[in-house]
């Protein structure tokens, strides 16, 4: 564990050296995600300024939901972006074979190989939104709330990563897994808004099947003191279960790969 942490640090250091070399790219990359988020937010704001609330949620409350999911997403974006291009950039080119002849976990190697700076933009936007919302809504930053928020965001990030890993495994069969990954990933759009605005079916799917709800809506509802019962605390459990499942399936895909080589 210590060894992997140190190794990750070395990878990160080298990555930043590259990014500093291409400084302009760094700025454009990180800035672009800020802009994309801004466009979405501007749209919500334009609408919300004309109505007092959306299904009982004020604009600031929605910002909290939006901010939490942006933060969770940024964790995935920064640390696990290679899952998107795993098939294209590593299986197809044979680059993945290189990972297999090195004495470290190939999944770790894959993730560590490219820290994605574009995610920093999302991270900054997420922090800004959560701060803005918490100030406007007078959420006290007690140690408990801070800890709750941290755990919620990390769990959310893990849920994002687990779902992307689960779908990236298909690259072992079909090589270009991006369409499969994006099919599931896109559903996180639902979780940008309070799940109560949707029909019951969608709410259930986003809670139990593709549980992005735990990356945004449930922690936000809890922080705002809305009664959601045990759902406020399930996020970490679901994240752990999901990532374990995803890792198992990854191992299964890996063993398929070593028998077919393609």
């Amino acid at each position: 564990m210590r060894r992997y942490a140190r190794l990750y640090w070395h990878f990160l250091l080298q990555r930043f050296k590259i990014l500093l070399e291409y400084r302009m790219n760094f700025v454009i990359g990180a800035g672009s995600t800020v802009l994309l988020q801004a466009a979405g937010l501007l749209a919500v704001w334009s609408v919300m300024r004309q109505i007092p609330d959306l299904n009982g949620w004020t604009f600031d409350e929605i910002l909290l939901v939006y901010g939490l999911i942006t933060l969770s997403k940024s964790i995935n974006h920064m640390f696990a972006d290679n899952l998107w291009i795993f098939g294209r950039a590593y299986i197809r080119t044979g680059g993945f074979d290189r990972f297999l002849v090195r004495p470290i976990n190939p999944l770790f190697h894959l993730l560590a190989d490219r820290f994605c700076h574009d995610g920093i933009g999302n991270f900054v936007v997420g922090i800004a939104l959560v701060l803005k919302a918490s100030l406007a809504l007078h959420i006290a930053w007690t140690p408990i709330n801070i800890a709750y928020c941290l755990v919620a965001v990390v769990s959310g990030g893990v849920i994002f990563i687990a779902l992307n890993l689960l779908t990236a495994v298909s690259a072992f069969w079909i090589i270009d897994s991006i369409p499969v990954t994006s099919a599931i990933f896109q559903t996180h759009e639902f979780a940008k808004y309070p799940l109560t605005i949707y029909s019951r079916g969608i709410g259930i799917v986003m809670t139990w099947l593709i549980p992005y709800g735990f990356a945004s809506f449930y922690p936000a509802a809890h922080l705002l003191g809305r009664p959601i019962g045990v759902l406020a605390w399930l996020g970490p459990l679901i994240a752990v279960a999901l990532i374990t499942l995803a890792y198992r399936i990854w191992l299964w895909g890996l063993s398929h790969y070593s028998s077919t080589g393609s």
């Binding site: 334009s46 609408v47 299904n55 099919a183 949707y198």
Partner: protein, 271 residues
């Protein structure tokens, strides 16, 4: 003269056919995009229903009008989403641009024909897939007057050409920066918002509306969709076309100039 035209016609037809075949080749992508669009449509419809809950009009529009607008906007959105910078980036990065420039077809013309043929194809695809979904699940209501449809078609065509010219200029940034994905995302964010793909532009506060009107993006989405959903009355169509032609003239000239400058930079500095 006619011979030259006919030869061009044949050339363009073969480009169009190839684009179509490429579309079919990516069939997995097809389903995923379809799923993604249905998803976004669903999110938007529920969002707007919640916005209108118990309210008659919001921002001067009625619920039915807004929902019609949003459904149509979501159908047109894929046509404005992609731009030209990613393919241009590929050409520049792999040094293919030099080869492309020696071909006996004007590169910009070729890209435009590709865009046009994918406009036709996507439109058909959108109507047959997302369109049917919107019609039967979300009860999309459309005008029956053929004049409105004709006006819509012309406006869309002009708007598409305007956006293409803008995108061509924007794609020239690929000659100066290797981070085309980031630039693409910047463009996507700007275009999606100011084209009206997310919110009908009339709902924006005044200052944002005037910002939008100084940008060409609304011509490719908001204007045609607003015509079709009745937000812009059909009687105003001729005015709309005048504005569009002005945009088109300016951007067509601009795009050729910018491209020539960018190419010169490459040939002088050797990439």
């Amino acid at each position: 003269m006619t011979l030259a035209l006919r030869r061009k016609g044949r050339l363009y037809r073969s480009i169009a056919v190839m684009t179509f075949k490429q579309y079919l080749a990516y069939n997995l992508w097809f389903w995923v995009q379809l799923l993604g669009q249905i998803l976004m449509m669903t999110v938007f419809v529920f969002f707007w229903r919640a916005v209108y809950a118990g309210r008659g009009t919001v921002g001067g529009l009625e619920q039915q009008q807004t929902i019609t607008y949003i459904l149509l906007a979501q159908m047109i959105a894929p046509l404005v989403q992609w731009g030209q910078i990613l393919p241009m980036g590929d050409l520049v990065r792999e040094g293919m641009i030099a080869i492309e420039l020696t071909r006996p077809v004007d590169l910009q013309e070729r890209f435009y024909i590709e865009t046009l043929s994918s406009l036709g194809y996507s439109l058909l695809q959108q109507v047959l897939t997302v369109g049917l979904f919107a019609r039967f699940v979300f009860h999309l209501q459309l005008p029956s007057d053929p004049a409105i449809w004709a006006a819509f078609g012309l406006t869309l065509l002009l708007g598409n050409a305007i956006l293409f010219c803008f995108d061509w200029m924007f794609a020239c940034l690929a000659f100066y920066s290797t981070e085309v994905w980031g630039l693409h995302v910047v463009r996507e964010g700007t275009v999606m918002f100011f084209s009206g793909a997310l919110v009908p532009l009339v709902m924006l506060p005044g200052w944002l509306q005037s910002v939008a009107s100084w940008m060409p993006f609304s011509q490719a989405l908001y204007t045609p969709v607003a015509l079709l959903s009745g937000i812009i009355p059909a009687a105003q169509a001729p005015q709309v076309w005048l504005v569009q032609l002005a945009w088109l003239a300016a951007l067509a000239v601009g795009s050729r100039v910018v491209f020539r400058l960018a190419v010169r930079k490459v040939t002088v500095q050797g990439g």
